[in-house]
């Protein structure tokens, strides 16, 4: 990618202090996101995807959490250490987040409409009447049937997938430059998912919006992202452009991930391929590679020191592994 990145994360470290000790949920993570670009963020449950996303919006609950080191620059401006009042402005207008669990983002005592109208009036300066019209339009765009009636319902009256779409509509409502979408379509059936993703891509083109898409659905990554970052246990294991990543995964964890996907049309009620073992406990991390216990390619060297990402940030493909699978030449 050429040109200035919109977002530039460098050596980000996020820690939580717990009764049992300090948990390092994100450990020296670096990546860039360019305007118009969609970057997929995938990886084992608990590997730090949501925490990475929350850091960008200044939403790490503190205490117990804190950004212990690193930098997050958005349009050249440093976000780490920014006061909450400044962040609030950025969250409304520049960066929006779609939360993994929709009920955390919705207020149960207000109707959907009131919540959306509030946001639209505050950030777009619309009158109540205009805002209501705009809200209905947004709900229609994310495929909510009968939006003029649904707008007056409370969150508990909606199905899981409708709530998720309301949250998406709210995030889109202020035309952000960057959207951090945390599992935005997990609660949606495939036809609705396709519709919502398509709508997001259209809006992205229209507004030159960039997107970080956190998802477990590798099919969605393949269809919507330009690049992907694979995380494991707080670290980046591999990042690459989509084609090469799926065709020639290099990190043994990425290889295992791709092998675990069940495919439609191969009905077998037998065991799925899994990556054996469990992620290490964040409080008792080994000195060497964190994937070593589960790795087929492990050698003595892997247990000595943590592998770092090879190459440089603007390389097309980077991997943090001593013995990666090499792409055929």
């Amino acid at each position: 990618m050429s040109g200035e990145p919109l977002l530039s994360v460098r050596d980000l470290v996020v820690e939580f202090s717990t009764e049992r000790g300090v948990v390092r949920a994100v450990d020296r993570v670096s990546f860039d996101v360019h305007p118009n670009e969609t970057v997929g963020l995938v990886g084992e449950s608990g590997c730090g995807k949501t925490v990475t996303g929350l850091s960008i919006l200044g939403l790490i609950p503190s205490p117990p959490g804190r950004i212990a080191a690193g930098s997050i620059r958005f349009q050249g401006r440093e976000l780490v250490g920014l006061p909450e009042s400044e962040f609030r402005r950025i969250r409304g207008q520049d960066i929006a987040m779609i939360f993994q669990e929709p009920m955390t983002a919705l207020n149960p005592v207000f109707t959907v409409g009131n919540q959306m109208i509030d946001v639209l009036r505050r950030y777009r300066g619309l009158t109540r009447r205009q805002a209501r019209g705009a809200a209905i339009e947004l709900l229609a765009k994310v495929g909510i049937p009968a939006p003029e009636a649904r707008i007056d319902e409370y969150p508990h009256q909606l199905s899981g997938g409708m709530r998720q779409r309301v949250v998406i509509a709210m995030a889109l409502s202020c035309d952000p430059k960057l959207i951090v979408a945390d599992e935005p379509t997990t609660a949606l059936d495939v036809t609705t998912q396709a519709q919502v993703l398509e709508q997001m891509v259209i809006l992205q083109r229209e507004f030159h919006m960039a997107m970080i898409l956190v998802t477990h659905d590798l099919g969605v990554v393949a269809e919507t992202c330009h690049r992907a970052i694979v995380m494991y246990c707080g670290r980046i294991a591999e990042k690459a452009e989509i084609g090469p990543l799926f065709e020639h995964p290099r990190h043994p964890y990425t290889v295992g991930l791709l092998e675990s996907i069940p495919r439609v049309g191969e009905h077998e009620k037998e065991d799925l391929a899994v990556i054996p073992g469990m992620v290490p406990d964040l409080l008792h991390l080994p000195p060497g590679c964190r994937f070593a216990d589960r790795c087929r390619r492990r050698q003595p060297r892997c247990d000595e020191a943590l592998p770092e990402l090879d190459g440089r940030e603007d390389d097309r493909s980077r991997v943090a592994c001593y013995f990666p699978a090499e792409p055929p030449t």
Binding site: G46, V190, T192
Partner: protein, 266 residues
């Protein structure tokens, strides 16, 4: 195989209020006359568009929301007319894994307390046996015993989902309604959990009503698949057949919209 669950013409309608006086102006027929049977040890996969009534059907079967009409018979007992005490007894045999794990876990309870709760309510085992069971269940869902004293907000989305699964398994129920149980899990952990469900099913004969929008997952775990559309079951067939030869136009549309990793290989 014995029939475990029989659902007959089940209905659940919600009032829609409108106007200044918030009068009831219409009803949403979220579940509108659904009938099927489920045998022990079998899995019925349930798919369908967002808002078509899947979660409502699951909740109405378990009487978490009382149905508007119809019957639900579990092991010969009709549930819709049961009083609260008998219903509590029956709850031992039927559990739910909720779609939104965050909303369903109490923020003030530790993991151990959450998973133990059904054991406590039904007075099962001694205190130390219950603790042992909690540890075992955590293991089963791929989590370490060290997490026992932690609270829900200290976990990632996928970890919370696994806590919900462990809780549902605690009583060894005969029926589990699993509402999007693996949607927040990465593919590898998801595969582990699905293999585990298959194993429990083989060993204990648990029956699952498995709600998921992920058609590959449904195909993998289900014996039969039901397709819901606007509150009704529009197609029901053995898993193999429905994928090979979908009949209903909505089923056909569903199957053609599955995103695939092969797109990246274009």
């Amino acid at each position: 195989m014995t029939v475990l669950l029989e659902v007959r013409n089940l209905q659940k309608h919600f009032p829609v209020r409108g106007g200044l006086l918030r009068r009831i102006v219409a009803h949403v027929r979220a579940v509108d006359g659904v009938s099927f049977t489920l045998e022990s040890g079998r899995t019925l996969g349930l798919v369908g568009e967002s808002g078509c009534g899947k979660s409502t059907l699951g909740r109405a079967i378990l009487q978490l929301q009382r149905p508007t009409g119809g019957e639900v018979v579990l092991e010969g007992t009709e549930l819709t007319t049961l009083g609260p005490r008998r219903l509590l007894e029956m709850r031992r045999e039927m559990q739910i894994i909720f779609q939104d794990p965050f909303a369903s876990l109490s923020p003030r309870r530790t993991v151990a307390q959450t998973i133990r709760e059904p054991l406590d309510v039904h007075g099962i085992g001694s205190a130390s046996e219950r603790d042992g069971k909690v540890e075992e269940l955590l293991q089963v869902v791929g989590m370490r015993p060290q997490v026992m004293d932690r609270y829900p907000h200290e976990f990632s989305g996928g970890q919370r989902q696994r806590i919900g699964i462990a809780r549902a398994l605690a009583l060894n129920p005969k029926l589990i309604v699993a509402d999007e149980p693996v949607s927040a899990l990465d593919v590898s952990v998801r595969a582990q959990v699905l293999n585990l469900i298959a194993k429990l099913q083989r060993e204990h004969g648990i029956a699952f009503l498995f709600i998921s929008h992920d058609l590959s997952v449904v195909e993998h775990v289900s014996d039969h698949v039901g397709v819901m559309y606007l509150g009704k079951l529009v197609e029901m067939a053995p898993a193999k057949e429905i994928y090979r030869d979908p009949r209903h136009p909505y089923t056909q549309a569903l199957l053609s919209a599955v995103p695939s990793t092969s797109a990246a290989r274009r």
